[in-house]
């Protein structure tokens, strides 16, 4: 990567839109498809991932001069696994219901490539403050993407939003949307929307 840039708004917004981990980089799709059957699960998963992203980014950045290159991936994995275990306990302490709904996917945050990717590509090359700001942006971008899927799937698949009924009584829920295939459909739909949006923006840039 190039010489360290100054921290600016880009550091934060990068993950929200331009390099959105899900819609643009297409990383960490496993939890995106698996736990977005309700908006609440999507939000909880997004926040848990954000917590791990921020903490591991901070610690990796602090230790970036201490960790020899040869063992860096092993070190990052230990650091990430530590914060995932902490997130696991914290979620159990906050709400058992959410914990049961997310199931194994909390532990699987360890292997979410967004986190390792950020540690390797960003936190290991930048100061702690920048790493935290960038990780926050990425985490929120990830949460946003999960919510995009979760909201659509819960409304169409169950007629509810955050557990509250939003569709009229006569609405027959499309169960397919809360089942795994629904995850693929809704993800495809959002990717299409994003791609179309980007394309239009680029065309405008050429003609202008």
């Amino acid at each position: 990567m190039s010489a360290p840039e100054k921290m600016n708004l880009q550091t934060f917004t990068q993950g929200l839109w331009k390099e959105n981990p899900v819609f643009v980089m297409m990383l960490g799709l496993c939890p995106v498809l698996a736990v977005t059957n309700t908006a609440m699960n999507a939000l909880a998963m997004g926040l848990a991932t954000t917590f791990v992203l921020i903490c591991s980014g901070f610690l990796v950045s602090l230790l970036r001069k201490v960790i020899p290159k040869q063992v860096r991936i092993a070190s990052y994995i230990i650091i990430i696994a530590t914060f995932v275990t902490m997130a696991d306990y914290l979620i159990q302490a906050i709400s058992l219901e959410v914990y049961q709904a997310l199931g194994a996917f909390i532990q699987l945050i360890v292997v979410n490539c967004i986190i390792l990717g950020r540690a390797e590509a960003y936190a290991s090359k930048n100061g702690p403050l920048k790493a935290v700001v960038n990780a926050t942006g990425m985490g929120l971008g990830f949460t946003f993407a999960l919510l995009c899927l979760g909201v659509v799937r819960e409304v169409l698949g169950g007629g509810t939003l955050f557990g509250m009924q939003v569709m009229p009584d006569r609405f027959q829920p499309w169960s397919i949307f809360v089942l795994p295939p629904g995850g693929f459909f809704v993800l495809a739909f959002w990717l299409m929307l994003f791609a179309a949006f980007e394309e239009r923006k680029q065309k405008k840039g050429v003609t202008a």
Binding site: I78, T82, Y89, G158
Partner: protein, 219 residues
């Protein structure tokens, strides 16, 4: 010497193995420390949550219960539920059976006087969302367990085909999951026998005690 070995010689000097191991060890110690701290810190809250969840489950299968008390049976703990007047309503028993994807664990309320199940809740399941997971909330399915006769073998029938008190109306589209609940209840027969034996023994004791206090005279 091979080319590969020569290439390796030209690379920047390797840090000593001690440094590598030391770094990893240091990070692991730090990690252990953080995990233990979080564990200690969240332990009371987690235990409280689990206790509350179990208590909620016990109260939900024993309508009217406001207090519960664990009773040790051989190999298993059941919960006795008491109402406001401290009368025993029944016992909450746990059971499990294989569902569509994984074990379905249920808790149900058992009234030994009438030999009936008076409530059921699913403690743990990974049934298909939208289909099998209806066993958790579907009101029509749960109505089966308001007064289910367990004096004889319980039977799961097709949705809407229930005619007898010992039959369970299944959920259409969730046959396997409904069957799992029925199976879990059938499997509890032996435990129910033991609870019944305990209950009868306890009741005779209790009547003796009441008689004693009555004879002793109350102010």
């Amino acid at each position: 010497m091979s080319d590969i070995a020569q290439d390796a010689m030209e690379l920047p000097p390797q840090p000593s193995p001690f440094r590598l191991v030391g770094t990893l060890g240091g990070i692991a110690v730090l990690s252990g420390l953080l995990v233990v701290m979080t564990y200690q810190w969240t332990k009371p809250a987690i235990e409280r949550n689990q206790r509350e969840a179990l208590e909620r489950a016990v109260f939900s299968v024993l309508p009217g219960a406001v207090r519960s008390e664990p009773v040790e049976m051989t190999g298993q703990t059941v919960f006795a539920g008491f109402d406001e007047a401290d009368r025993r309503i029944g016992f909450a028993l746990e059971s499990e059976a294989r569902g569509y994807q994984d074990l379905v664990r249920i808790l149900y309320g058992f009234d030994p006087d009438r030999q009936k199940i008076i409530g059921m809740t699913v403690l743990q399941s990974t049934e298909t969302p939208g289909l099998g997971d209806k066993i958790i909330r579907d009101p029509a399915f749960h109505a089966n367990f308001e007064a289910l006769d367990v004096s004889r073998e319980v039977e799961v029938v097709k949705s809407g085909a229930k005619t007898e008190a010992w039959q369970i109306d299944g959920i259409s589209g969730a046959t396997v999951s409904s069957q799992a609940v029925g199976q879990a209840i059938r499997r509890g027969a032996e435990l129910r026998e033991r609870v019944l034996a305990f209950y009868r023994g306890d009741q005779t004791n209790r009547t003796d005690q009441t008689n004693l206090t009555e004879r002793g005279g109350q102010p």
